[in-house]
Symmetry: C2
Amino acid sequence: MAVYFDHNATTPLHEKIFEAMQPYMGSVCGNPSSLHRFGRLQRQAIEQAREQVAALMGAQSSQVIFTSGGTEANNLMVKGLSMDTAVQRIAVSAIEHMSLLQPAAEVGCNVDQIAVDGQGLVTQESLKQAINKETVLVSVMAANNETGAVQDINKLAEEVRAHDIWFHTDASQIAGKLEFSFEKTAVHAMTLSSHKLYGPMGAGALIVDKCLPMHSLLQGGSQEKGLRAGTENVPAIVGFGMAAELAAQELIERADHVRVLRDALEKELMQLGVVKVFSQQVRRLPNTLQFGVQGFDGETLLMELDRRGFAVSSGSACTSGKTEPSHVLKAMAVPNQLATSAIRVSLGRANTMAEIERFIEAMKQIIGLSNSAVMMAANL
Amino acid sequence: MAVYFDHNATTPLHEKIFEAMQPYMGSVCGNPSSLHRFGRLQRQAIEQAREQVAALMGAQSSQVIFTSGGTEANNLMVKGLSMDTAVQRIAVSAIEHMSLLQPAAEVGCNVDQIAVDGQGLVTQESLKQAINKETVLVSVMAANNETGAVQDINKLAEEVRAHDIWFHTDASQIAGKLEFSFEKTAVHAMTLSSHKLYGPMGAGALIVDKCLPMHSLLQGGSQEKGLRAGTENVPAIVGFGMAAELAAQELIERADHVRVLRDALEKELMQLGVVKVFSQQVRRLPNTLQFGVQGFDGETLLMELDRRGFAVSSGSACTSGKTEPSHVLKAMAVPNQLATSAIRVSLGRANTMAEIERFIEAMKQIIGLSNSAVMMAANL
């Protein structure tokens, strides 16, 4: 049986969530914009999901704008904010997901990068350096998809608010893994992705304070308060809602489960001598462990692990295929050779200690082949 | 049992399509961008769906760009075409879906409207009048969602190509209902929507000739050749592929089935004396019948039919809720009072002659109440 250790890339659909979606893929049919009973049932299902997502994140349901996923939510945030690009600027952390960095680079305004320290954290000093009077938007992700490093969003939001700047946080990775609240952190906008918390693909959300001047990216319909045209993906939205409800119920239990496994894995890996764990000194997502293996190539390690039945990532899934070190590790000033040896293990609710033990054995085997093909590949 | 007569708004998910999707909502999990075996299985599933969609539409699979739906595909076409908006123009038919018209209005270039005749057809003369040397893109939908009127896309494409202009057609409504080919019509780009042909919500496509200079709307990932960033909605794409395959297999059978029902319905309605069928003189989708009922209000009729268990539309679902006559009927110069009385019946594979007969009875009942609340509401 292959072992799935790549939950930050995507999670398997939770069986209860599939059950919740099933009626909307069979007996219940209709376009939510239709006025008849079929349409009204679909509309109700969407509104219930909106409540569920809002409840998980400590937001009001009226603040939830459903999108096709986290990438669209990040694009909507950056490109949908009404601004005067000739004079206004945005500031984004250097370790944001590409779906935030690339739209920022293309929106037409000046973009300032917020540096992170060697542990991957944005400090108040680096934040202050990156903003000025022209800054209208700051975006710092709540937890990083690669290292799992958790930012102190409360403190950063306070600083940003003091300067009358909008503050957005990509909460795709933290949602459902640690407690995190829209209201308590006092951010203005927040990105979520359904398939990162055992929900279906094809749904995400931008939670957005009503005071933000936003316009839609996709036009041609009044769905989602005019901020997202297009027939709503009802089954996916229903699943996203159920995913949020279950995540709220099981939050602590899930975190405890993966933390025990992750800590055991980390301890064992450290004993191998050649492993360096990233963001080890700071608060991290309980399911995430990213590490470099001195003298090895991450992609080769990944394929060797795959051959042995373990699915891990060598970086962010969205940029895999490229041989460059990840921009996250680069921003943390990790030396190139160590950064390109990176492996990310991201655990989930169904993983077991037996799987961790088998993984350690596999790692030992691979690393033991120090004069073999793996080592050679690393030196090419 | 309520009767669903609103298949142009959305179709119920075909049971075989649900079966095809199910593994991707359970045992098979992974991000298609991941390099490990889980990711590769997802990637393969997407590529198979691409072949299936291409096969239905007579296109090459490499021309298929998956999106979250038809609205996104139309937005991608209009806003993703690289053009010099200061000098270049686009021409769109007056009866396009809002997801084409609104992006066109916002893209920043001049937009010329292509008039339609009283039957809702774009003529070669009206096309010629709307284009000039600055025109870079023409968009005319293959079949209209309201009237069902089918354009002669071959002839229009020939004219457009003769002027070295890109030609896009929104084929969301014709796909799976009548034979229609990307290659044979010689269009440059084509929009499709999965949930209009018994596939799941959350998937669509822009089929696009490689010579078109396109850029993405959603950035931050290299998915779909860099033209659509974001984790692919694998189950929806798999379902879309199966929907295309089944539509190809059952095309004639489905068309024949609904045509018999639609023709019977039309004949009966005409005998009521107060009914006017739109686009009656031209080739229409076999499942679609839009008609006005003299002296009645369409929305009131819709609600009266809903009360009696029939789900129909009073216009395009995406713009329902507004009291204005539809822009389609307006463009056809249908008098306002008749246009606001419009009802659209759009049939599907599970509808029966018994349902048609019950519908006729209901219509007679409602229309018979000529001095009642319905009539009064119409006069308000």
